[in-house]
Amino acid sequence: MGKVFKYGDDVNTDVLFPGKYTYTAMEPAEMAQHALEDLDPQFFKRVQPGDIIVAGKNFGCGSSREQAVLAPKYAGVAAVIAVSFARIFYRNCINSGLPALVLPDAARTLEDGDEAEVDLAAGVVRTSKGDFTFPPFPPEVQAILDAGGLIEYLREHYAK
């Protein structure tokens, strides 16, 4: 199981990935180093592959910048669970193949340092505080997640 990193409401894309890097940090390893930089400066040092971000309402509000999803993903984050998501951030998660789960119960119950893992196929989040189930994604969305992200999905269907 991964470790839970717990944050509050209205976490915005500027603290997830500062705007000053948006057109210069292009490589995955470099993006990862700036993940959550202005929210939790220790995040990149502490995060391990398989860890999970848990947050309050409107997670990822603000800019459309995809690095707000990619930076934590490249840093090892396996899923994001929140009371609710800002809509572009949610779309960016799906398109980047990072599961984003709207699970208010789990988001309110889980605390920093708890353990959790997401089983997408079974539709369940298993945690040190019990299991939380979630409904299936719409077929359009599931197809993208199944492919591993939108790039992979498009490659399967449109590559010439």
Partner: protein, 416 residues
């Protein structure tokens, strides 16, 4: 049961009846990108595709870090120019033309009933003239380039009913901040925001652009002003032809909220969220280091006129630098013709080039640790203007101009 505007646009594009909550794949009329085109174009080889499906639907505007702040940004711009030439993209606007959301309206891409997608969160600005315009991410923008379409969920609609008229010192920016302060940064999450009510007839396209731009800060998918005589005049087209693009009388709304413009005072959003909104009086006297008038929110000729009205014959405080970023070169040209440039120079304002400026913290006025900026932009998130220990307050052009004179946050009331 009647349909909302969103349901009508989605149904027309899908070629079948679509209701709120349904997910459908739609082809936008235009797909907007900016400096981030450099990152998006790199996704084409990863997908295994070399050509855009509809190059004539791509609109690319360089505005975010323009002119290039360093060689990395310059290399991005160069890659975009080469891509534009190779793909035969006609709708390309290079450094200095304007902020992308201004260009969409100014150059006529925004039009009643059109579906516009953009890889920028403030794409909803185009709803001011009755388009359905929503922001999307980079990867899915590459998907639109390649396939022509994208999956979209037809949003439910929140109707904001506006009544009354502003006091002279109050404007659309104050109303937008008041709305966000009341409903919160997620108050319209996933929803369409439709502006309605008798007050809309007195709001010009610039006002409507402010209100649609800031719909993004309510969490909305899009903002929308039903086309009317104001729209028709702006487009230079006879009134009435866009009637079919209005929500039906019996359309279903998730929420209806009323706002009385006549009781509003000038408003300010304090750090570090846009919904931390207070009447200007509560923040009066707060020291500022930098003042900014411009960006996609408030860089139009109407905003420059307001700045000139307040600042002509007066001076920016010695402790403050006031930066003015016109939203486009056309706006700047208009300001020149109207004689608004010299009085603002005399007032010690600094005219900058059309573009996003320091709004995203990359250049042209980034803040030092501990500094405070009062800005007409749309975001005051921690660190956004370059340093996590700086502070951003958001307000109207009138409030920013009045505060620049005072050297601290001040009400613009005495100037109107």
């Amino acid at each position: 049961m009647g349909k909302t505007f969103s349901e009508k646009v989605f149904s027309a594009k899908a070629g079948r009846e679509v209701r709120a909550g349904e997910i459908v794949t739609l082809e936008p009329d235009y797909i907007l990108t900016h400096d981030n085109s450099a990152a998006i174009l790199k996704k084409l080889p990863a997908i295994g595709v070399t050509r855009l499906k509809y190059p004539e639907r791509a609109v690319i505007v360089l505005d975010h870090v323009t002119p290039a702040a360093d060689s990395k940004h310059a290399a991005n711009h160069k890659a975009i120019r080469e891509f534009v030439a190779a793909q035969g993209i006609k709708h390309f606007y290079d450094v200095g033309f304007g902020v992308c959301h201004q260009v969409m309206v100014e150059e006529g891409f925004a039009y009643p009933g059109r579906l516009i997608l953009g890889s920028d969160s403030h794409t909803p600005t185009a709803g001011a003239v009755g388009a359905f315009a929503a922001g999307i991410g980079r990867t899915e923008t590459a998907g639109v380039w390649v396939t022509g379409g994208l999956w979209l969920r037809c949003p439910e609609t929140v109707r904001l009913e506006l009544t009354g008229r502003f006091q002279p010192h109050v404007s659309a920016k104050d109303l937008a901040l008041a709305i966000i302060g009341r409903i919160g940064a997620d108050g319209a999450l996933y929803y369409a925001v439709e502006y309605a009510g008798e007050a809309t007839e007195a709001l010009d396209i610039a006002d409507r652009m402010v209100l649609c731009n800031l719909a993004a800060e309510m969490g909305a998918k899009n903002g929308y002003f039903p086309p009317d005589t104001v729209t028709a005049q702006f487009l230079g087209e006879p009134d009435g032809k866009h009637a079919a693009l209005h929500s039906d009388e019996d359309a279903e709304y998730v929420q209806k909220l009323g706002f009385d413009l006549s009781v509003l005072d000038a408003m300010v959003a304090a750090p570090h969220t846009v919904d931390n909104v207070k009447p200007v009086g509560e923040l009066k006297g707060k020291h500022i280091d930098q003042a900014l008038i411009g960006t996609c929110t408030n860089g139009r000729i109407e905003d420059i006129r307001t700045a000139a009205k307040v600042l002509t014959g007066r001076r920016v405080a010695a402790s403050v630098r006031l930066l003015i970023f016109p939203a486009s070169m056309k706006v700047y040209r208009q300001a020149l013709e109207e004689g608004l440039v010299a009085p603002l120079v005399d007032a010690a304002a600094v005219w900058m080039n059309p573009g996003c400026g320091p709004c995203l913290g990359a250049h042209e006025g980034a803040l030092a640790p501990g500094e405070v900026c009062l800005s007409t932009a749309n975001r005051n998130f921690k660190g956004r203007m370059g340093d996590p220990n700086s502070e951003i307050y958001l307000a109207s052009p009138a409030t920013v101009a009045a505060s620049a004179i005072a050297g601290k946050i001040a009400s613009p009331r005495e100037y109107f």
